[in-house]
């Protein structure tokens, strides 16, 4: 049994296709573990094998945990919010449909920060998720459920979404791999929207190979998403074990100030490893990246304030029982259904767009975004990839930052610039500090995922990070 659960997604797929293990047996094993989940990682677990699963496909009916943000027809899809309590969408998101078409089996829906707003999974309307490394600590967010599920061996692999770091940061805090693709590479159709110009779906996995495999099958141009573009080249499973000839840029702005000493230490060791593998390090400045948090926390809430306006109790979702008139219907429904962080960001976003303030806030933030993208463009003329710690800290205790939203937002310091520029980035577990995982982030130009995956793979082989034993 524990051997069954020790396979990565790719390994399990190969064995299923070879007939060595049974897809049904694998699904049941994971279903049992997911149902017994004491991390609150799952909001819904399938009670039978996914009828779309296909053992002959590339993903060979290997069970997949899906962040609750993805619409799956007939399955509760609530974006971690009470305002969508019980909502079962009438259609399935393209990303999940693509993975099913490749044979994947949906195991369950994972818990998340409400509407993807958060970096600790403490903003869920359905209770926080616990970090399997230390149950008194957060798993990161907003894809905390997906990250914890993979880290604890409750699922072989998972998908999540990343808007300001919501795949990479929980991956880092839980010691798993998390990849945010180039904006537009994966269709957003069916992803309950948070910030439309930033949201991207991506894999959370045990290793880089699994991330590549999921990415290859979930991506592609979708006629239902006008902003989707697909990859010019096929995503390849990585094979490199050396970094010779590659230049890695280290931005002082994202690798010094605010980084915990333990994380810094691991990061420095990782830089040495890069050089040992033949990579060259170069200091490269991203002068506007310190303003990433400011720009992000204007743009994302602004777009969210509009995206969340549809939750009004008229066509679906929660509707208040006590209201007198239309305005009260809206106000009561939303007051009851939304959590504090969501309300905070809606207010922030509404303010940033309002007449008289638009230019100073939203307008300027859009310009900062241009500068951040320009900084990356210039940097990539000199280096192949940029390397930073993924998160300024390791997993922090539950409740440690909930009373200081700004401190919470700072968790995204290193991850926020990439979505602002629309470029891809991966986080791989790269060390331990105080007994907790540390993540290393590699970012590259748009559509450079193959290069990123190869570099990450080479590092992964050498770093030898050990995840939590599955039996635990």
């Amino acid at each position: 049994m524990s051997e069954l659960l020790s396979f990565t997604g790719a390994q399990a797929a190969a064995r299923i296709r070879a007939g060595d293990i049974s897809a049904a047996e694998l699904f049941d094993a994971y279903r049992e573990r997911a149902a017994a989940d004491d991390l609150n990682a799952f909001l819904w677990v399938a009670d039978a094998q996914d009828e779309h699963a296909n053992a002959a496909g590339p993903l060979a009916a290997v069970p997949l945990a899906v962040k609750d943000l993805f619409c799956v027809e007939g399955v509760p899809s609530m974006a971690g919010s009470r305002i969508l309590a019980g909502y079962r969408p009438p259609y399935t998101s393209t990303a999940v449909a693509n993975l099913r078409a490749a044979g994947a089996a949906v195991l369950g829906k994972t818990n998340m920060d409400e509407f993807a707003m958060g970096s600790s999974n403490e903003n869920s309307g359905y209770g926080p998720v616990l970090n399997p490394w230390d149950r008194s600590r957060v798993p990161g967010g907003s894809s905390g459920g997906s990250a914890a599920a993979v880290a604890a061996g409750l699922a072989p692999w998972a998908i999540g979404t990343d808007t300001g770091g919501s795949i990479r940061q929980p991956a880092s805090l839980c010691g798993v791999v998390g990849l945010k693709p180039t904006y537009g590479a994966v269709s957003r159709y069916g992803m309950i929207a948070f910030a439309s110009s930033l949201d991207q779906a991506g894999p959370l996995t045990r290793d880089v190979t699994d991330a590549a495999l999921l990415l290859r099958h979930m991506s592609g141009r979708d006629s239902c998403d006008s902003t989707s573009i697909g990859y010019p080249d096929e995503i390849e499973l990585p094979t490199t074990d050396r970094l010779d000839g590659m230049v890695f840029g280290v931005p002082p702005e994202l690798s010094a100030e605010g980084i915990e000493p333990g994380v810094r230490e691991v990061f420095e060791a990782n830089l040495t490893t890069i050089e040992e593998l033949g990579g060259r390090l170069e200091q490269v400045s991203l002068p506007h990246s310190p303003h990433g948090i400011s720009a992000y926390y204007v743009i994302a809430p602004a777009e969210a304030s509009a995206n969340l306006a549809r939750y009004d109790g008229v066509r679906f979702g929660h509707r208040s029982d006590s209201y007198d008139g239309l305005t009260e219907l809206y106000e009561a429904t939303r007051a009851e259904g939304f959590g504090t962080e969501v309300k905070r960001r809606i207010m922030l976003g509404t303010f940033a767009l309002s007449s008289g303030y638009y230019e100073a806030y939203y307008g300027r933030a859009q310009k900062v975004r241009t500068k951040i993208a320009d900084d990356f463009r210039s940097a990539f003329e000199r280096v192949d990839l940029i390397v930073t710690p993924t998160s300024p800290s390791v997993a922090f205790p539950l409740g440690a930052k909930t009373s200081d939203p700004l401190a919470m937002y700072m968790n995204d310091y290193c991850t926020v610039p990439m979505p602002l520029a629309g470029i891809p980035a991966i986080s791989i577990p790269s060390g331990i500090s105080e007994g907790l995982p540390v993540g290393l982030q590699l970012a590259g130009p748009a559509f450079s995922e193959n290069k990123i995956l190869n570099a990450a793979y080479a590092l992964e082989q050498v770093l030898g990070f050990e995840g939590i034993p599955v039996a635990a």
Partner: protein, 477 residues
Amino acid sequence: MSTTAHSYEPVIGLEIHVQLKTRTKMFCGCALSFGDDPNIHTCPICLGHPGTLPVTNAEAVHFGLMIALALGCEVAPRSIFHRKNYFYPDLPKGYQISQYDIPLATGGRLGDVRIHRVHLEEDAAKLVHASTSGRIYGAEASVVDFNRGGTPLVEIVTEPDIHSPQQAEDWLRLLRATLRQTGVSDVNMEEGSLRADGNVSIRPAGEASLGTKTELKNMNSFRFLRRGLEAEIERQQRTVADGGQVEQETLHFDPVSGSLSSLRSKEEAHDYRYFPEPDLVPVAPTEAMLRRAREALPELPLERSARLERELGVPAEQARQFAYNSELGDFFEAAVAADSADARTLANWIANDLVAQLGDHRPEETKIEPGALARLVGMVNGGELAANAAKEVLGVLVKDGGDPATIVAERGLGKAGADELEQIVEQALADNADAVEKIRNGNDKAIGAIVGAVMRATKGRADGGQVQRIIRERIHA
């Protein structure tokens, strides 16, 4: 009203919404609907379900470009969509996808009114009154029908170049005729595929500055538009004459009572918090798209008007009338084509007599065929039929259709023969001896009574001029 009020001139701008006649909605593949059962043309996208995304209708863009070119606008090399944010039950996403400061086209002209901008957007859904209140506490319930939600709209905004309600009506008719010719919309005000709001202000005559404007919303016929504008201008002039100031507000005109009321609706004092729509990419019309739109434009009313004058010798006034009223223009050209009658005479008949018979109807709503009218006019020209009798035949054609020659024969309306006429004139002269006396004494006007008597006796089958001539001949013989 004091004399000072009379020296204020009205300044009017129009904001027009045109529902496009595409097959599907602006951002999803649902079919457009016309008075169907509620909510049978919807899908997760136009219902605003979580996770859904819009995808722009290519044909709507094409129609938008056609409108922009028909109005002589400058098409933006790149335009983007914006979200217009507000809460209302007919707006499923809580925002309308529209265009804001980078619209599809700007700066055109139609006739004597300049066009400020043309842009694309999606229509809202419909709110209808519920039959019972049911679960809803308090006042009444409404029911939302999302069939219409998402229908492609083009919004056209004019410059404030209109200076009278009549001009507004005339110009809107020209716009309607122009758009109808392009085929992009049914442009039917009663059905809601053409909607017009007016922005109205007044200013001292001859000044260039603009006064505070009010907005008159949703006048759904040409006549109501004119009357609404008239009422509002009068109200503003009265306000100023009484020493008051015009306040900016949104008004509704009730055509039944003729009164204006302030609208406390979603339109009032709103900050729409426009920002670029992140789910849609810009529209950058290519050479091919522009060429296709240009080539799809048929002859437009103003061009038609010029051609009718030039090629068929139609007087300018009537040519304009046929241009502004494209159904009438179509009827005229069909009549000219059907029977090579004198185009000028045909034009007269249509512009005057047919129009009088039609009332509010369009020619195709009646039974008259263009060819039939052409033959009728031919009969008059050829002396077979008197003008009065022809008018009677026209009435029959409009009501029952048919062929003029047949109708004339059936009703014995053929022109009175010379002998018959002589006899009738004799009788009339005998019956109106004192009138005859007056004429002999130089009072020529008295001839009217005798002509009238003859016309009645012939049941209009005589030509009035000919009758007068015969009478005079007999009297002065």
